[in-house]
Structure formats: C-alpha cells, structure tokens
C-alpha cells in the first residue's frame, strides 16, 4: 500500500495536536513514530486509520483520502491496535482473533474464510494459545493476540499504538522483531528510543504535533534531536554487534570518546 501523509492536522479543544505533518512511511517496512507524551502520536495514528477526520491536509492511501474510503473496506485494508486494549467480555483467544474478521462478515455472521483466523494465529505465533481465555494471558501474550486480531483483518497497513507498553524486555524485543519481520507496511508509536533504533527502518519524530525529523534512525537519532525533543541530554553510541544506534541518557563528560565502556555505577 502506498501511504502518504500530506500536511495533515487536527485540533482538540482549539489546540493543534497534529499540525501539518508530511511523511511517506516506506512500504513493506516498520516505521517508528516517536515523540514525548502529548506529541500527537496517537492522534496521528487515528488520522492515518481514517477514524478521525483531518481538519487540514489529508492521508492518502493509494492516492485516495483515507477518510473517504467506506468503513468496511477501510477496515479490510488498515488495522489499528490501540494502546491499553482490554475487555471485560470473557472471550477466548480464538474469539478475540475472530473479531478481526468482522469487516468481512455478512449481516448474519457468515464469513466464508475461517482459515484467516488460523493463519493469523500461526503467523503471530499464538496458535498454542487459541483455546485459552483471553483474560488468563500475560501482557506479552495479549499483545501477540491483538496483533493476530489485526492480521486477521488481512490489512495492507498495520498501525500500532505503543505495542510494547508494560512488556518485559524479552517480550518487547520479540514482539517488535516479529512485527518487523512481517514485511508489512507498519507504523508503530513507540516510547523506547533504543527499541525504535534497533528495529525500525524509518522513524518519524513528533514534537508538539509537528514532524521535526524523519528518516533512517541511524541518521535521525542524534544527541541534538534527543535534547531538542525530549529535553534530555544523551550520548548516541553504536551497538558493537548490530551497528544500530544505542542511546545512553545523561550528559557525556567533556572529551569522553563516544565508544567508551559504560561506567558500572550499579555496584553502589
């Protein structure tokens, strides 16, 4: 899918929470959407999903404004996973994933492609969870099931709002690596700069609703950017194994070489 975000903007309570954002996330790759709390990441994702009408500009999918695409067709092409998605309904994992087939179902509930649920479960590596109650899953398993639900929509574009929140390190790494390897156009709002640096082919950095940087994380994520956007001093190192940027927070003492061994302060 060809996705173009063209000068899109919207207001909430009179303030422009997304303001003239222009971007073209690369097709078939994972794009990280970065920025501090309140930068407009979630709102931008909702605009891209077509759930919020833009007040300025447009989001174009294959050249068509996304808000003009009929709802059901849109839901077959774009899947959005919100932050903090929970339910009090006692669903099983398979039932949660089957919700992703709703855009394909007729009035009386027939779908005609039950294989999609199994495929999504398999791709998301969640087939072994299929018969378990959703409420009994761990945080990492829940996110995996949510992603399976999104995949059951068979979308061309996957939008994820902080999919790694509340996950432990291992679950964060495995989830984002898995999303990257799907090879599907994906835009994921992320809090963890190092995670984004390690996995994203492209990053968009938002600050107060505006796009302040976009491009390859190896070029975009600099000490200056982190200071300007997050107001935090940082040193950007290079991971010796992967060659990806690693951001260490805290000011570098004057004259320190950037590839120094970290000081072991943990032994206090």
């Amino acid at each position: 899918m060809d996705l173009r975000i063209a000068g899109v903007g919207t207001r909430l309570g009179g303030r422009w929470v997304v303001d003239g954002v222009d971007a073209t996330p690369p097709p078939g790759a994972l794009t990280g959407l970065l920025g501090p709390n309140g930068a407009g990441k979630s709102t931008l994702l909702r605009l891209v999903a077509g759930l919020l009408p833009p007040e300025a500009g447009a989001v174009l999918v294959d050249g068509v404004p996304v808000h003009d695409v009929p709802r059901r067709e849109r839901a077959r092409r774009i899947a959005l996973l919100e932050q903090e998605s929970s339910s009090t309904v006692p669903l099983t994992v398979r039932e949660v994933v089957a919700l992703g087939r709703i855009p394909y179902r007729s009035l009386w509930g027939t779908d005609g492609d039950d294989g999609a649920v199994d495929r999504a479960l398999a791709v998301a590596d969640a087939a072994h969870l299929a018969d378990r109650p959703w409420s009994a899953l761990s945080g990492g398993e829940r996110q995996r099931v949510h992603i399976a639900r999104a995949l059951a929509q068979e979308p061309e574009l996957l939008l994820l709002d902080e999919p790694t929140n509340h996950l432990d390190v291992s679950a964060q790494l495995s989830l984002l690596g898995f999303v990257r390897d799907l090879g599907r156009t994906t835009v994921a709002a992320l809090h963890d700069l190092n995670l984004a640096a390690a996995h994203c082919a492209h990053v968009l950095v938002l600050s107060e609703g505006r796009l302040v940087a976009a491009g390859d994380p190896r070029e975009v994520l600099t000490a200056d950017l982190v200071r300007d956007v997050y107001g935090v001093e940082a040193v950007v190192l290079t991971h010796p194994g992967t060659g990806r940027p690693v951001i260490a927070f805290g000011a570098a003492p004057a004259g320190t070489p950037l590839d120094r061994t970290p000081v072991t302060e943990g032994a206090r």
């Binding site: 759930l51 839901a75 039932e95 709703i102 378990r132 495995s174």
Partner: protein, 362 residues
C-alpha cells in the same frame, strides 16, 4: 548476547482454564424452544383450578380451528376453556414475551455500554417507562400506552447516561449510581401520579408498576409485547456482529469498520423501545436483563450471534416460571413477579460485584 535470538512467549505455563464445551447453536435453540413450549403448556395447568395438559392443548387447538371448539362434541368444557384461553394463556404468553424482551435488552445494553451491570431496570429505563405509562393512563389515552412508555424509557436512558458522564468518564459503577437516581425519581413520579388520580386501590396499583406484575395480562398485552419482541428482537439479532465488535471498546469497533455513534444510538433507541413495550404490559420487572445474559453466555459463549437468540428463549422460560411461582406459591395471595425476580437477581448481582472486584468498575 547478540547471537541468541530473543525468546518467544513463555510456553511452560500450562493452560490453567480450558475453553468450556459450547453446544451447537441450532441444537441449543431447538432444545430451548421445546422447553419453552413445554413450559407454556405446563404453567397454564398450574393454578387453583385443576386443568391437565391435554385440556390446554385441546383448548388452544379449538381456538386455532384445528380441533373441535369448546363446548362442542370432543372439545373442552366451556369453563375450562375460559380459564385457559381468557385468563392463563394470555398471562403466560405475555410473561414469555416480556422475559425474552427484557433479557435481550439487558444483553444488548451490557455490550453497548461495556458494563456487566447494565440492565433496563438498574439503569432506570424501566422506571422511566412506568412513569410514561402511568402518565398517559391518567390522561385516559390507553392506546398511547406503549408509545408513552417508550418515551419514558428513552428519556430515562438519556438522563442516566448524561448524569453518569457529569464530571468524568462513564464507568460501570457511575452508570449504576446514575441509574439509581433516575430510577428513584421516576418511581416517585409514578407513585405521585397514581396517588393524585387513583380512586380505588392505589397502593396495589403502585406496587404493580414499581415491582412489575403480569396479573392484568390480556390478549392485547400478548400482541403489544409479542410484536415488539419480534420486530425489535429481529433487528437486534441481526446486529449481533456489530455488537461483537464493541468487546474492546469504541475505537476498536471503529477500526473494525463499525459506525460506532450511529450503531450505539440506533441500538440504544431500540432497547428503549423494547423496554417501553414490555413495561407497558407488565410494569418494571427487575433483574431479568441483568442475570440471564451472564448465565446464558456461560453456555453459549459471548458471541452475540449465539447469545442473543438463546438468551431470549431462556428469558421467556425464566419469567414464565417466576410468574407461575408468584401467583401460586402463596395462593390465594399473589406476589408481584418483581419480588420473585429480585430474590433470584440480587444474589447474582452480588456475585457479579465480587467478580468485578479489583477491576476498573468504579
């Protein structure tokens, strides 16, 4: 460190709870409908006058023109026929329709508001409908009864949801508190209107509206409740897939292609319509809509395509038996059926509260 791939999910934890076995929908419905027919036939025989199931069947067949008429050769005696056809059958059938309608209304409200405690009675719709009904009865326009009850239910729904949203997000706990306030106000209004106007036994009449009673059921009640159930119930069952989409909230539903605002508005109005029709013929019977969806979804699972038809059938069976108990257990005294449903419903409400402990209910 870099050479070991990140571990996937922790698979050592064995599944603690297995999915319960869920019977096929068609079989469940066939069994349910058979039980409903049996319930109707049996409950018509229960009462002070001794009547057997074959008498009931012969009376019904006679009226449908499928058998000899009452009093004719081979037909039931005229007295028996009068008890079956004019007294008990309308009451039992009204009870079945009201039970089905209230159970459906509760199930749909619980999904639309994502509130396991939602129910036409707890959120004030039933009391609002009673007030509307009583108000037109006083004016003397009996024909408008269901319409006024619908208007009352809708007004109460809007009042409850607005009140619950004042100064914060709509949580299940706040919705129930707001429903309590609206319901008390409407109940006070109902009592006031009856006191102001009634000449006869106003206490009994007030009790019948506030606690619900099927004692006054006629074939007209069957018609009102039955038509509302068939029309609104069909639309609700046809909306099952859209209701499923609300499981993870409004945004998730919108992302699945559902027009969230329109769906909620239309379905809530239909629920108010259904509640209004049921209250118009029976007063405000509580807890049917609260209890049955939870009990039935334990068997059918939460998917609405399965849940809604089954909950309607089970609601019908439940209320017919509850009403049969209400009119016979303390014979010759008769209890308002709402007392019986409350006796069953309140313990279930307590269990739900306990189960919701620690979650974001308040």
């Amino acid at each position: 460190m870099t050479s070991t791939p990140p571990r996937l999910d922790n698979r050592t934890a064995a599944p603690a709870v297995r999915t319960p076995w869920r019977p096929p929908l068609a079989a469940t419905l066939v069994v349910g409908l058979a039980l409903l027919v049996g319930t109707v036939l049996v409950c018509v025989t229960i009462g002070p006058a001794d009547i057997a199931v074959p008498d009931v069947a012969r009376s019904i067949l006679g009226h449908l023109g499928l058998g000899p008429a009452a009093g004719a050769d081979g037909g039931v005696p005229v007295l028996v026929d009068a008890i079956v056809w004019d007294l008990r059958l309308p009451r039992v059938l009204t009870g079945a329709a009201v039970g089905a309608g209230l159970a459906l209304a509760g199930a749909v409200m619980q999904s639309l508001t994502r509130n396991p405690l939602a129910d036409p009675y707890l959120l004030g719709l039933s009391s609002g409908a009673s007030l509307g009904a009583v108000a037109v009865l006083v004016v003397g326009v009996g024909l408008l009864l269901p319409v006024a009850a619908f208007a009352g239910a809708l007004a109460a729904l809007v009042a409850t949801l607005s009140l619950a949203r004042v100064g914060g997000v709509l949580t299940p706990g706040r919705a129930v508190l707001a429903g309590l306030a609206v319901s008390q106000l409407a109940a006070a209004g109902t009592s006031f209107v009856i006191f102001w106007s009634a000449t006869g036994d106003s206490y009994r009449e007030i009790l019948n509206w506030l606690l619900g009673s099927l004692a006054g059921s006629t074939w007209q009640s069957v018609l009102i409740a039955g038509v509302a159930l068939l029309v609104v119930g069909t639309v609700l069952v046809a909306s099952a897939v859209r209701l499923d989409a609300f499981a993870f909230g409004d945004t998730a539903a919108a992302a699945l292609g559902v027009d969230v605002d329109r769906t909620r508005w239309v379905l809530m109005t239909l629920v108010a319509l259904l509640t209004g029709a049921m209250v118009a013929v029976s007063g405000s019977i509580g807890f049917v809509g609260l209890v049955l969806p939870h009990a039935v979804s334990a068997i059918t699972g939460p998917a609405h395509r399965r849940l809604l038809p089954v909950v309607a059938v089970v609601g019908a069976i439940f209320l017919v038996w509850a009403d049969t108990g209400a009119r016979t257990v303390f014979d010759p005294r008769e209890l308002p059926v709402g007392i019986v449903t409350a006796l069953i419903g309140v313990p279930v409400f307590a269990v739900l509260l306990r189960r919701g402990k620690g979650s974001a209910w308040t």
